[in-house]
């Protein structure tokens, strides 16, 4: 009975949102806006809960035997510091913004640098792992598109034939990505229909 009620609620919500999108100036559009606001509020609360859940996880890793993690103390220290500074100085404070900004940018860009080094190593071992046709095609295409998007080939080449080849090569990623997007769109439509009809219940984790 509970599942049926949940399915009815989800289906009605989906239908109201869809109708509200197409009928924005009607009462259904207003209902849709209210429902979206409720969802945003719930999502915000869920984010707060997720933050505290993350804190508790690292707290347990620090103070529970067998789950010791040396990164957890740093996380707890950083979380408490940023939280206290943000509450004390407000989010628009320069000091608060600099703390958050330089911390995140430095850390994340460092990760990107490590990723670049890892990719260099992977590129060296690429043909060692795979020697089949697919690997060869993948390797060749990687090399071509690196050259193409790096702009190296755009310097000093004025031949119309080569330009046409470059344009053809540029069209290849568009074709591939178009196919991917179409697949994603079809999947999203089917999932939406299933949710509306009650066949798919993302809210039911059992």
């Amino acid at each position: 009975m509970k599942k049926i009620i949940l399915a009815i609620i989800s289906s009605l919500s989906g239908l109201i949102i869809i109708l509200g999108i197409f009928l924005q100036n009607t009462i259904i559009g207003q209902i849709k806006n209210y429902m979206l606001e409720w969802a945003i509020i719930v999502g915000s609360i869920a984010m707060v809960i997720a933050i505290f859940n993350l804190l508790s996880v690292h707290w347990n890793k620090v103070f529970t035997d067998g789950k010791r993690d040396y990164a957890s103390p740093f996380f707890i220290a950083g979380f408490v510091t940023v939280l206290l500074v943000g509450l004390a100085l407000s989010p628009t404070n320069e000091f608060f913004l600099n703390i958050s900004k330089y911390t995140m940018i430095s850390v994340e860009t460092s990760l990107m640098g490590v990723l670049a080094l890892t990719l260099s190593l992977a590129s060296f071992r690429f043909f060692r792992k795979k020697q089949n046709l697919l690997a060869i095609v993948f390797g060749i295409s990687t090399v071509i598109f690196l050259l193409l998007f790096s702009g190296i080939l755009s310097t000093g080449i004025e031949s119309p034939f080569i330009q046409s080849i470059f344009n053809s090569l540029h069209a290849l990623p568009i074709a591939g990505s178009t196919g991917i997007l179409l697949g994603i769109a079809l999947g999203a439509i089917v999932t939406s229909i299933r949710v509306l009809l009650g066949f798919f219940k993302p809210y039911d984790r059992k």
Binding site: Q24, P91, K101, E108, T142, L146
Partner: protein
């Protein structure tokens, strides 16, 4: 018919019509009235029953196809040994009873009445009556009318023709009776009473006292031997009590014949007490010694009353043994001359005792065997003589039978093979049960004769083997004491619930030798399974060692090589870097749209910058968008930022701050409004597009950004002149595209993306869902070159980027070439694969 009457008082032979004894003057009128001899030696048997016997019992005795004497005598003969046999055999023969009940014949039904007689406790007082009769020789006066009907008429009516056939059938039946008897003895032995152990060997023989046969032959032939009498009796029995046959007798084929044979034996004994006839005295003379029965009688008279029970047992064993009864119908008139022709084996066998107990065995016996005979002297010799005489008599009977068969071919014998009841035909004598019994009976015959003076002997094998329960049951049951049931329908019975002991005892389970046949296919499967479960650890470790050495070198050298090149390029002068001659079309389009949207209004436009990027993409995004924001700052446009990514808020501040460094004249604090984080992902996007004022209130919680300039003029999403989405995530960009095209398709939408997010957004650009896109460093450089912005920084980064791309291409090619040659020169391709 009887020609003469013997006076019960003086044993003088009188004429048949004599009213009184010529010798002593005793009144014989009651005998004469019935025209039947009524010897006194039978009176004691009747006296035991006279007081208690009812008419129904008389009818039963008639219906039993037995002589009345036997009917009465049966009650006397039903001694304790037989009762014990019955009670002990009841439980053991339950299965056989079920079969025998359906097959039982008319003869066996007669024993039902016998059992009823046995149940009468007064029947056990026969010895008391016996003594009274012996003391009062004239006790025959106490006989009533029933006794007169039950006297020796059956001896008179017996004919010589039927005798031969009946003798033949009785021999076979007697063998069966012996089997059953021995089995019963075995049961008694189990109880500890062990009358079978007390049974002398002469009783197991087919010996009979010739006196008995001769006396019976001469005096009377019972009516029941006649076929007509037999039929009538059987019919009566069936009509009256068809189902009264006791269970314990249903299987055993006693029939009435052994009982019939018992009665003459008793009569003979009584005759000794009352007055021994002449023919008996003649036999005694031939034997050459005193009559053993006289000795027994003496012992009985001398023994105290407390030994009366044992004496009675002895008496039963002597006179009621199946061997004696077996010869009873074989009444023969043959002279005793042929007795000397009997085999030596029989004679020697009859002389020696059946067995002699060891002292140890005798001590273990609960009842001392042959109590009365132990106290007498030469009792065994006397018994052996009797048995020898009986053996001779039996031999004579056989010869007589042959002669009678030859002389009377037209006779109608009362008992033939055809007259044998159906239940006897169905008896399987070849079963294990009877095999054991036959062995028991045959073993004493095959054994060597025992010397006369040997007092002690080993327990015979047949007696040892006569204990079926101990033989069959396992050893642990031998030691277990049989439990006497105290309650329930089995109360008083011992060892009837034998399964209880079995369940309580624990034995070691049997072991079985099982051989498993494994096929080659199964062996192969087993090997595969073992390889899966236990892979070769040694080879893997070696490979790992080799692999770790190569990988450690590669892991250090290649990143180090890349880092060195990039680090050197940072400090290298890139002023001479060759710029691209052709700009990407997307970048050109983006530049044109951006300048067009911003220049269509005379007043500064409202630009909404949506940051959907992570901090990791900050360097790239900063390079690409720096020129764009500098253009905005130059034109003094209003900028409003919002982010659906928490990092986007900070990145927005940082990117705008970097652009503001080059255009310090732009009042960033006034012209730029940061709406902060937009929660709810796609829902937040939908809600923000629907009504931006409700959802986002800005970072400053103290003031409402929507009330201040420039957002006070913005009431809907379409009020923004240009919408620019800065993203490194194509999925988030897709969400914005979908929602905006659905809700505000007329709005101008531009994208500034990283190189990795550009390919997935190209289809939207091709389908005009987005107006323009500026992607990658090349796009940023193109925009900067088109907008005449400062390009020093982006050119330097672009040069380093080109160098890094070249290094990556080189590494891929180098790795491919190395793997190609390594595979060519490697002897183990698998190892190279792992490398």
């Amino acid at each position: 018919m009887v020609d003469k009457f013997i006076c019960p008082k003086c044993h003088f032979e009188n004429e048949a019509n004599a009213s009184e004894c010529k010798n002593c003057g005793n009144d014989l009128s009651h005998l004469v009235s019935h025209n039947e001899p009524d010897p006194e030696w039978l009176s004691f048997l009747r006296d035991a029953e006279n007081e208690e016997k009812s008419e129904s019992e008389n009818q039963e005795s008639d219906s039993l196809n037995l002589p009345a004497d036997f009917s009465e005598g049966s009650s006397n003969e039903e001694l304790n040994w037989l009762e014990r046999i019955k009670t002990n055999k009841k439980d053991d023969q339950t299965e056989l009873e079920a079969d025998s009940e359906s097959k039982q014949g008319d003869h066996l039904k007669q024993f039902d009445n016998v059992k009823n007689d046995q149940e009468n406790p007064k029947n056990n007082d026969w010895l008391v009556d016996f003594r009274k009769d012996s003391e009062n020789s004239n006790g025959i006066d106490q006989t009533d009318e029933l006794e007169n009907n039950l006297n020796l008429d059956w001896l008179e009516d017996s004919s010589g023709e039927g005798k031969s056939e009946e003798t033949f059938s009785l021999e076979d039946l007697t063998k069966d009776w012996q089997k059953e008897f021995s089995e019963q003895i075995g049961i008694e032995d189990v109880e500890g009473i062990s009358p079978a152990e007390e049974l002398p060997q002469w009783l197991n023989k087919d010996d009979n006292s010739p006196e008995i046969g001769e006396s019976i032959e001469k005096q009377d032939i019972p009516n029941w031997l006649n076929s007509s009498y037999n039929q009538v009796s059987n019919d009566d029995l069936l009509d009256e009590e068809p189902s009264n046959l006791p269970d314990w007798l249903s299987k055993s084929d006693f029939s009435n014949k052994p009982r019939e044979e018992i009665q003459p034996d008793l009569e003979d004994k009584d005759a000794k007490e009352q007055g021994i006839p002449d023919w008996i005295s003649e036999i005694n003379k031939k034997i050459g010694g005193g009559d053993p029965l006289d000795d027994i009688e003496k012992d009985k008279s001398e023994s105290p009353k407390g030994d009366q029970f044992d004496s009675r047992l002895l008496f039963n064993k002597l006179d009621l043994s199946p061997q004696v009864l077996d010869d009873e119908p074989e009444i023969s008139d043959q002279p005793t001359e042929q007795k000397s022709e009997s085999s030596d084996e029989d004679s020697t066998r009859g002389k020696g005792p059946a067995f002699i107990l060891k002292p140890e065995e005798a001590d273990h016996l609960p009842v001392k065997p042959f109590i009365d005979f132990d106290e007498t002297e030469n009792w065994d010799e006397e018994i052996s003589r009797i048995s020898a005489i009986k053996a001779d008599e039996k031999f004579d009977h056989k010869e007589e039978e042959d002669q009678q068969r030859a002389t009377s071919p037209s006779s109608s014998p009362p008992f033939t093979f055809g007259d044998i009841p159906s239940w006897m035909d169905d008896i399987d004598f070849d079963t294990q049960l009877y095999e054991d019994l036959e062995q028991k009976t045959e073993e004493p015959e095959s054994s060597t004769p025992i010397p006369e003076n040997l007092e002690k002997a080993n327990l015979p094998e047949w007696l040892k083997a006569i204990r079926p329960v101990e033989v069959v049951t396992p050893k642990f049951q031998k030691n277990t004491k049989k439990q006497v049931e105290k309650s329930g329908p089995l109360a008083g019975l011992q060892g009837v619930l034998s399964s209880e002991g079995v369940t309580k005892s624990y034995t070691k389970p049997p072991t079985y030798s099982v051989s498993l046949n494994v096929t080659e296919k199964q062996k192969n499967h087993l090997q595969i399974l073992e390889d899966i479960i236990n892979p070769s650890v040694v080879s893997t470790t070696n490979q790992k060692k080799k692999k770790s050495k190569l990988q450690s070198v590669e892991n250090i050298l290649i990143p180090l090589f890349l880092s060195i090149i990039i680090f050197v390029s940072i400090f290298t002068d890139h002023s001479n870097t060759k710029l691209p001659q052709t700009f990407p079309a997307d970048a050109v389009r983006f530049y044109n749209l951006a300048t067009g949207y911003l220049s269509r209004n005379a007043s500064p436009s409202h630009v909404l910058a949506i940051f959907e990027t992570d901090a990791s993409s900050y360097p790239e995004m900063n390079l690409i968008s720096k020129g764009f924001f500098e253009s905005l700052f130059k034109e003094n446009h209003w900028i409003t930022t919002v982010a659906t990514n928490p990092n986007g808020v900070i990145l927005a501040e940082e990117i705008l701050s970097n652009a503001h460094r080059d255009i310090p004249s732009y009042n960033i604090e006034e012209r730029v409004n940061n709406l902060g984080y937009l929660p709810g992902n796609i829902v937040g996007i939908q809600s923000f597009i629907s009504n931006p004022r409700i959802l986002s209130t800005g970072l400053d919680v103290k003031s409402d950004v929507w009330e201040a300039q420039p957002l006070s003029n913005i009431n809907s999403f379409t009020d923004f002149d240009m919408i620019v989405i800065l993203t490194d995530n194509s999925d988030q960009a897709k969400l914005w595209i979908e929602q905006m095209n659905l809700t505000v398709p007329e709005s101008s939408l531009l994208f500034i993306t990283t190189a990795k997010a550009s390919p997935l957004l190209q289809p939207y650009l091709e389908t005009s869902q987005i107006d323009g896109i500026l992607s990658g460093i090349l796009g940023g450089l193109s925009y900067d070159l088109l907008s005449s912005s400062d390009t020093n920084e982006i050119i330097r980064i672009w040069s380093i980027n080109q160098l890094a791309i070249a290094i990556f291409i080189l590494l891929i090619l180098a790795g491919g070439v190395i793997s190609l040659f390594s595979n060519a020169f490697s002897s183990n391709p698998d190892e190279d694969k792992n490398k």
